[in-house]
Amino acid sequence: MISQENLKEAILGLDDNVEFHYLVGPGTREIQLNCISLLFNNSYTPTFWFIEEFFDKKKNKRHLTSYSESRIELVPMSENKVHSILPEGDINFIQSKGVGWDINFNRFTFKIIFPHNASLLGKVKVRIFQDQVIQDFQDTKKRFGAHGVIGSHEPIPNTWPIEALDRFKNEGISGGRGQ
């Protein structure tokens, strides 16, 4: 593993016969463009790959696919396996925020659980609760990538104002309203 700053130095020290394979994403456009232009400008033409996903209600199949139609099926990663490769800081974060792992979707899950007295909370308390959980969700996305986390909540109590549901929706956290 090398940092982006050291990529140029690493490429310059390589043999001409080295083949590059480039997996698109994650990362910003800027990072990707820097890496790709560095390869091109040093006479390397990489093979581009992406992760192809087939969503199904029961199972999600994932392939490492090249644009030249090569396809390698990816083995689902268990939660334990994911935890085994994460740095300690990420594990501590996962444990403190209750972040889970969905083996079928290969993404982290952030499930919002309401307190037992949720239906009795007033408007101000609802807002404070939402501030906190949305902040945790934003922190989780910042740590694991905006597309690497699925946010959901239990059906919100029907005593809560309707805008509480709007707020979750606007943040990309799915879930409905209780009856």
Partner: protein, 341 residues
């Protein structure tokens, strides 16, 4: 004929519109760039008719002499397909999409299918800083006839025109529920006096002055002070007060101030003139939240405006406990803090 190819996005529309308009203006006004004769707007069914109309209006505003072609596709990645007549051509300039499947496909096609040895393909990346557009020119050459071709990518950073206004961004998120604050050259005697008291006085003295001279409600009086201090700041381009977020009028969430700096950063300012420091800490923590604005998150900051006593206490605390992107200041340091963001 040089085309500019733009992939319309169904979300974060304000930023998308700004990227399109500023890139078109750049090509129109910058002599280093080739003349663009056509805009190809590519979208999927997830972009609404109103959304498309907004992109079309953006093009007309930036350069109404351009020929416009709109292409609806089931998937954006279908665009780069050589079996159809709309694929990449020599002289095309592409505003790069999100680094996903389409992004990789563009590079794959440039490498494998597209022969542009006589010309150039261009890529544009309007950066989230809202200021720079990274322009990449790609050329393809072979050392000799039988050698495989090699690609070179040359980059120049060009400055974009600043087009996004905070008003436009807020109108979408708040249904226009906010109050515009005008810029002033001076502040009233009472407000000025409060600022003086805050410099050396105690919390109680400041609070007493607010209640007696500014407003019987301390919170509202303190917001008046904040508004007044902000109205003097010439590093700001827009100031809005009492901003209500929510999808409709069902009683939404109010935030105190949103301002835009001349360097196109948005600052969310919350006012809290409370005695208990615990409440101040809670508010600082709340300000870590990114507000629901369609704007690059990297350019959104927060300020807690509070009493001098609390601001100084926070300043004296260990830096490890401080939250990046959240600043705490008082009436005497508010404008300096904004200038330093």
């Amino acid at each position: 004929m040089s085309r500019l190819i733009f992939f319309s996005q169904p979300t974060n529309t304000e930023w998308g519109l700004s990227k399109l308009e500023s890139t078109l203006r750049l090509f129109k006004n910058n002599k280093k760039l080739p003349a663009i004769e056509k805009l190809l707007l590519v979208h999927t069914p997830s972009v609404t008719a109103e959304g498309i109309e907004e992109y079309v209006q953006s093009q007309k505003t930036a350069n109404n002499k351009l020929e416009l072609e709109i292409l609806a596709l089931p998937e954006l990645a279908d665009f780069v397909n050589w079996k159809h007549n709309f694929g990449l051509r020599d002289g095309d300039w592409i505003v790069l999409p999100y680094p996903g499947i389409l992004f990789g496909r563009i590079f794959h096609e440039i490498i494998t299918s597209f022969d542009f040895r006589e010309g150039i393909i261009g890529l544009c990346h309007p950066k989230p800083d809202g200021v720079t557009n990274a322009i990449y020119g790609l050329t393809k050459k072979s050392k000799h006839a039988l050698a495989p071709s090699e690609i070179r990518m040359k980059k120049i950073d060009l400055e974009m025109e600043q087009l996004q206004t905070l008003r436009l961004i807020l109108e979408k998120s708040t249904n226009g529920k906010f109050t515009t604050v005008s810029f002033e050259s001076t502040i009233s005697q009472h407000l000025g006096k409060f600022v003086e008291i805050e410099k050396n006085g105690t919390y109680e003295e400041s609070k007493k002055y607010i209640v007696e001279h500014l407003d019987s409600n301390v919170g509202i009086g303190f917001e008046k002070v904040t508004q007044s201090v902000l109205s003097l700041n010439r590093n700001l381009s827009e100031i809005y007060h009492s901003v209500y977020f929510g999808n409709d009028n069902r009683g939404s969430q109010e935030e105190d101030f949103f301002v835009m700096t001349n360097s196109r950063k948005i600052i969310w300012i919350s006012c809290k003139f409370r005695e208990r420091y615990g409440l101040i800490e809670k508010e600082i923590s709340r300000l870590r939240l990114k507000p629901p604005l369609n704007f690059p998150k990297e350019r959104i900051y927060s300020i807690l405006m509070t009493s001098r006593t609390h601001a100084e206490r926070y300043k004296s605390e260990d830096i490890g406990g401080k939250i990046p992107g959240v600043f705490v200041c008082h009436s005497g340091t508010l404008n300096d803090t904004i200038s330093n963001i």
